[in-house]
Point group: C2
Chain length 245, copies 2
């Protein structure tokens, strides 16, 4: 059974609150950087792995995509997507991204935002993605950065008595595998993989690396929200763009 | 004036002591990983940037390279190289790797071990390397890992009262530039660049990334020397292999 925290009622509501307020790091760091890597979407067939409540699927068709298949394991998320971001060019599929059957050489673009750190078998997923992208097509994905997932018992920042962040804790980096964290609820399972594993898995599968991002906020965002400067101190996200030759 | 710490008498002697005892992390982590990426050296024209005292240049010709040009800014290092690792297939050049004139499309292999973090202008260096590698040729380089160079005032490990390592300190990651450290002597200048800058500079210059390593010691080395296990806790080195198409 694949993990499905997004259907946990407490997690689900907390996550929706975070995203609807536009306060998550997704909104100010990850989404702008991710979208900066997108090619012209016009006439593209897009697969969105871990589409959540479908906000990005809608954005892709509004910005020119011919069609989008959005896949998510969470029934609650897919239900919300169908209610709020439906479109006749979007098909929402309630399935694990690790299990869904995909037609070979079918998509121009495979996109995945902050889902791959939930996947047990990264090599298998990358192989299946490679098979379903057409030659010349592109994979763009973001995930939590390996320096953010590394530590087994995650403490994150060392803070002083006043709650000020002193530095980020890095540990257990080379020991890949399960990381259990608290994020709204206890027992959220993520998988830590090193940067070299991520890169070499893509390359050995046949992808060519086109870009690697470790996004920081824009100066404007930092001016509006001082605390975003803290995100420069360690990279929270890794975003990779790769092409199937 | 390029930094030339390896000609500082105290630094030079301390470094030689470390390397001659085979006790540096170079010997147990970096060199085995670096050499694992080498193609068949037979008949290859090799450029070794930051060759130090020439041990690797000698190793490359002994293992089949047709000829090696070894470049190092340190006069003391080049003198030692000529004394101890001379060979009629090796030419040692006492010059900065940032300044040396290089013939276009001339080398099959450009190798550089733990020198690039001393270079001010990485993009310029990569462009010059790209020009001097023949099409189909390869660049392999190692450097200190970005998580090791990141913090401006480098504390390295947090240690407890007994000197036991508690965790690695990560900070200042996105703020690239000069890092002044103590390594045998005060005032050793290194340059911190993020992983994404390193990757994107290579890709935008035209290189295709072939492999990325964050080496750990072998199980045998770790059994001989328990303290090597600590190196798994954060990656000390980054090694990249890239091809000019």
């Amino acid at each position: 059974m694949k993990q499905n925290i997004y259907d946990n009622p407490i997690f689900h509501q907390s996550y929706i609150n975070l995203r609807e307020k536009g306060k998550g790091l997704n909104d100010v760091l990850e989404i702008p950087a991710f979208r900066s890597l997108l090619p012209d979407l016009h006439d593209k067939k897009v697969l969105d792995l871990g589409c959540g409540f479908g906000e990005s699927c809608k954005w892709y068709v509004v910005n020119g995509a011919k069609c989008v298949v959005g896949v998510d394991i969470s029934d609650k998320m897919i239900t919300k997507a169908k209610q709020e971001f439906s479109d006749n060019r979007i098909e929402y599929v309630n399935q694990s991204i690790e299990d869904i059957e995909l037609k070979p050489n079918n998509f121009d673009l495979v996109l995945s935002s902050l889902a791959f750190h939930y996947v047990v078998n990264f090599a298998k997923l990358v192989k299946r993605i490679y098979a379903c992208v057409r030659p010349g097509g592109t994979l763009i994905f973001s995930q939590e950065h390996p320096v953010a997932t590394a530590k087994k018992v995650s403490d994150g920042w060392v803070k002083d008595q006043n709650g000020k962040k002193v530095h980020w804790i890095l540990d257990d980096y080379a020991d890949e595998g399960i990381r259990e964290q608290r994020w709204f609820i206890d027992g959220v399972i993520k998988y830590h993989r090193t940067l070299s594993t991520i890169m070499n898995t893509l390359i050995q599968t046949g992808f060519q690396i086109e870009s690697v991002l470790e996004p920081t906020a824009t100066v404007e965002s930092e001016e509006k929200n001082e605390s975003l400067k803290e995100e420069r101190r360690r990279p929270p996200f890794l975003i990779v763009k790769a092409q199937k030759p």
